[in-house]
Assembly symmetry: C4
Homo-oligomer: 165 residues x 4
């Protein structure tokens, strides 16, 4: 079990915001619009291992972008909700569809548009780089910043709770 | 109201420098010239919310680049002045056109070419990463650096002053 | 000889992980997939000089990407193993092919998929930015982070041991 | 005059290394090779003002890349030496051609390939992020890192010495 003792439950569903959580919040624009996001290799390995251990991962973003789908595909993540204007509702629907209790779901986000979704699940996390309100609302704040291992940190805690290394 | 008590007035117009203020000052060049700028997702949400609350946002840059227009469009910012060689004059004209008092206008910039514009309005701010002269001249220096939440910090202070959260 | 006294042997083969070791772990995605990795100019010079001094350099990555081959080509590195799912086995085969003793081989990596390869050679290093398990397993942890001079630091130590500056 | 009292002479020629000095040392590679370098807007303004004040700026790089020429063009820098394998010789030739004394020339670089060039001129500077040997050899080490205002810092010191602000 994790040294931190968190999360207290076994997690079956990890819900992740994208910009600022899976990335460092950077939006790279060219003259044609947003061209790139920067993801983290440590986060990627954590998510691949988590899915192999039976935990489903879902990406939920307000941004509508093929970039998110490309990263999801690379990591074997099938469920991606982009262009999402109401993350709270999206999370409620996901839990209903999967007939999962909130106690096995964990949401991680970094800005105020994530607050409602965080309240819909049993466990919430925020990267060290989240805005103050979100850090205060989260059950767990990672040592790492978004796009620099914050998601990996949560993946490892979930794995540790599952008794895997 | 804001804990800092700043800005002391309700702001109706936020004037923003781009490179070093809305970005971290990085200019990404390819063999064809400048290709990208890196913007920040936290800044973006702050600016969207500020406009919804009735504050107009204007981008003023010495750089002439379609990148600035693409970012503005994404954020719903209609007024963009690029290729601007005299930011002081640009600010004076904007205030005249809008028939606004300097007391409701706030300018944020990070380099010496912003100093004159800062002096034309009632309130001025600079990111922590601004050059020393500009930090000294500014009414308020943000904790965050440019391209890493500096603009969001100012947006939140303006919102707080408006009585919004 | 090196001030640190490490590595204790003369090294003839330097085996390097790519993402997080030769880069800062950033994966830049566009709507078409992974488009870029960011390498470091100090690392590059260190690797060019090391090869001139007679040390062979091999890149070993789980990622299958033409980006790795382009960087290798620029640095005159001929041996590149990408899309590698078992780095331990890859290292064993490399040592066999070259008929080299493990005592002249050094592996540098930053994540748990590098652990087995690290155990196959006489000397192992990890960047300061490696995950905790890897930092604990490594013989030497650099002061610099991956993509910010970590590889250069190891190159300079190997050169120093060879009596070159 | 500068508070630091450095440089002690009026400078007429500023010679600049590119990667790690005018950039943070990052080399962005795609599957087609090196695609981008990241420059700094503060450095840019410093170099434009310095040239207006009558100081010539020359870029000297071991890398052969159109990226360097694009950045130079944007800043109005006419003299660019790329693909340079012997920076010491390049500097000697530049001084001869211009019939300038070494006492009015300043070289700024960050790696050991810059050491010979630094020794050819009267004044040398290195960014805080330079390798140790170069920091020790330089007359002046900037507070800022390469690609994050190191060049601007030197520009401002030269300007200050010229009696300009």
């Amino acid at each position: 079990m994790s040294e931190t003792g968190w999360p207290p439950n076994e997690i079956k569903l990890l819900l992740l915001d994208v910009d600022g959580t899976l990335t460092d919040g950077g939006l790279y624009f060219t003259g044609e619009g947003q061209a790139m996001k920067r993801f983290d290799v440590h986060d990627g390995l954590g998510l691949v291992r988590l899915q192999r251990a039976g935990v489903e991962v879902v990406l939920i973003s307000a941004d509508r972008s093929p970039i998110i789908h490309m990263r999801a595909q690379k990591l074997g993540i099938r469920a991606v909700i982009d262009g999402c204007q109401d993350k709270g509702q999206a999370v409620r629907m996901l839990l209903e569809e999967r007939e999962l209790d909130t106690s096995v779901a964990l949401y991680m986000g970094d800005d105020i548009t994530d607050l409602e979704a965080m309240a819909e699940v049993g466990h919430s996390a925020a990267p060290a780089s989240a805005v103050a309100t979100v850090r205060e609302a989260a059950d767990y704040v990672t040592t790492c910043e978004g796009g620099h291992g914050a998601v990996r940190e949560v993946c490892d805690l979930i794995m540790s709770r599952l008794g895997e290394q």
